[in-house]
Amino acid sequence: MDWVVEAKDLTKVYKMGIVDVQALNGASLKINRGEVVAIMGPSGSGKSTLMNMLGCLDRPTSGEYILDGESVATLNDDQLAIIRNHKVGFVFQSFNLLSRQTALFNVELPLRYSGIVQNRKAIAKAALEAVGLGDRMTHRPTELSGGQQQRVAIARAIVNDPAIIMADEPTGNLDSKVGKEIMTLLLNLNKQRGTTLIIVTHDPAIGEQTQRIIRIRDGVVEEESAKGTK
């Protein structure tokens, strides 16, 4: 198999004052390239921590993590930043756009940090067109609806052509109709581009739309329920 995510025995211990909190307790999982996976679990289960590890926002206390063929568990902050820039696209619940900047600028931002100077505008425009916002490029986030803002965020996530897209409750701040549109967009992008999609969610309805649900409880992967390809 062509694994894009290979995590083995990931643990994470947070120090809260004098108490050590074990957020991850030996989680292991593998995700195939091009797969659509949901990570689900009750709050406090270590779901967010796992997402931070998989998205290279944080380092595990122990364990091994190979992302797109690179071992990233022991990299330093700046090396992780470069990995995030090239291999991970983030979609957040609250969009996290720079409110003073245009949609185009927001989408360009990852390209700026990868040092791409030429064609940057063209690449960013193509990404915005891919999410159906070709006509809203010079708008600022405050002039866009919630669904449009999330589309800008998705364009930003795919602009560097990453190996995985990490979506953290991507529909959590949207009403159900717009939420469905966003899910459809994400799934279409997965089909067209073959980008691996990892969705962290509470919502069983979203879990239904993925190929596999990874359930987390008490810092370990509890069950992996494979489903038929949707």
Binding site: L57, A81, R84, N85, F90, N96, L98, R100, Y113, R156
Partner: protein
């Protein structure tokens, strides 16, 4: 990220909150303006005093009685007319061009019930060329006036203003000095207020007249100051040593300590320059404190900005910004704030200096503040450095944020 983009982003960021940016920049503006204005005033004062001292005469030496720098010399001999004449000896003092002994005292000048207290100076005919004295009208004192003990007087402009309310048409008037009538034969051109007391509030009378009837000294031939003019600027030190030699012989102090003091214009100049130099540094130093306060203002605002934008920083890091990228972003913002403040401050300081100059002129002092290129460069570099320095701590704090925690903040 490439640097121009960073600068553009920083500009957008600091223009997004105009009131706050304005207030922050104001601190720097005031600091830089104060530095520029103070340095300009200091330099102007220096130039003005230097000009005044140069106006005293050309290649001038001043000979005084007594040792100015040594308190151990007692029983000094007075300088006399004979000393002055001895300095004219072509063989022992080849580098002395002209000599002018002077008697100086204070007295009241009266005209039709009005009285002005001023300096009375008794001079010989050479005084006018030695001291570069120019006249508004009339003629200088001549050798004939000296021989004849003539009761003639030249008025300084302050005296003329006070007694006559005008500066021309005064030749032929009669004023009373020490209760004796003196005929006015001319009016002195203004020399401006200077380092040596006002030379405009004085009257000039023939040396012999002063000696015999106005300024009484214990020794009949005593003089207060001898001005000596060297033949050119290079021979000032030579002339000085020749004068020393002659006076040592005449005062019988060939060995031991001199009982007279010779100062050159250069000595006065360097004294005045060191005083105005200290003044400039002092004023500039006080102004620099306000620049420092402005810098602390920048640090304060940048810290607020980092706290406010924690989430943005987290996002940028999640998208691939390295520590360096965030550091540069915030440093550019803080330096840009202080650079803008610096540029406006320079213009503002220039304006203040100009106004100070105009006020000085309006009050009768000829004084032009000088804004030098060095002051402008200094202020620009210094203010940007202030922004950089006070930006380092907030920028470092921003750059060290962990993306996970920064993203979680509200």
């Amino acid at each position: 990220m490439n640097f121009t983009q960073v600068v553009f982003e920083a500009i957008e960021s600091i223009t997004s909150n105009k009131l706050r940016t304005g207030l922050t920049v104001l601190g720097i503006i005031i600091g830089v303006a104060a530095v520029i204005a103070m340095l300009a005033v200091g330099n102007g004062a220096q130039a003005s005093i230097t000009g005044t001292i140069n106006g005293i005469g050309t290649n001038l030496l001043f000979v005084f009685r007594g040792a100015r720098n040594n308190e151990n010399v007692r029983n000094t001999r007075p300088l006399t007319v004979n000393d002055a004449n001895a300095l004219l000896d072509q063989f022992s003092a080849p580098h002395v061009l002209a000599v002018a002994p002077v008697l100086q005292g204070n007295g009241n000048i009266m005209f039709s019930g009005k009285t002005q207290s001023s300096t009375i100076v008794g001079v010989t005919a050479d005084y006018f060329s030695v001291r570069n004295i120019t006249l508004l009208e009339g003629n200088p004192i001549t050798t004939e006036n000296i021989y004849g003990n003539a009761s003639v007087v030249l008025l300084g402009v302050d005296v003329a203003d006070k007694l006559f309310d005008r500066r021309d048409g005064l030749v032929g008037e009669t004023v009373r000095i020490a209760n004796q009538p003196f005929r006015v034969i001319g009016v002195l051109a203004s020399k401006g207020g200077g380092g040596m007391g006002s030379e405009d509030n004085q009257v000039i009378i023939p040396f012999s007249t002063a000696q015999s009837r106005v300024i009484h000294r214990s020794g009949l031939n005593n003089v207060d100051v001898i001005y000596a003019q060297a033949i050119d600027s290079d021979s000032v030190p030579l002339a000085s040593s020749e004068i020393s030699q002659i006076l040592r012989t005449r005062h019988r102090t060939p060995i031991g300590l001199d009982d007279f003091t010779i100062m050159s214009q250069q000595d006065f100049l360097s004294t005045a320059q060191s005083i105005t130099g200290i003044l400039t540094v002092f004023l500039g130093g006080i102004a620099a404190i306000s620049l420092l306060v402005g810098g602390i203002g920048i640090m304060n605002i940048m810290l607020v900005s980092v706290t406010e934008r924690t989430r943005e920083i987290g996002l940028r890091k999640a998208l691939g910004a390295r520590k360096r990228d965030i550091l540069i972003q915030f440093l550019v913002e803080s330096s840009l704030l202080s650079l803008i403040g610096g540029i406006i401050g320079i213009m503002f300081g220039w304006l203040i200096a100009y106004i100070v100059g105009r006020v000085a002129v309006a009050m009768g002092t000829d004084f032009t503040p000088i804004v030098g290129v060095d002051a402008i460069l200094l202020a620009t570099i210094f203010s940007t450095a202030v922004g950089l320095f006070f930006g380092i701590y907030p920028a470092n704090r921003a750059a060290s944020l962990q993306p996970v925690e920064a993203l979680r903040s509200e």
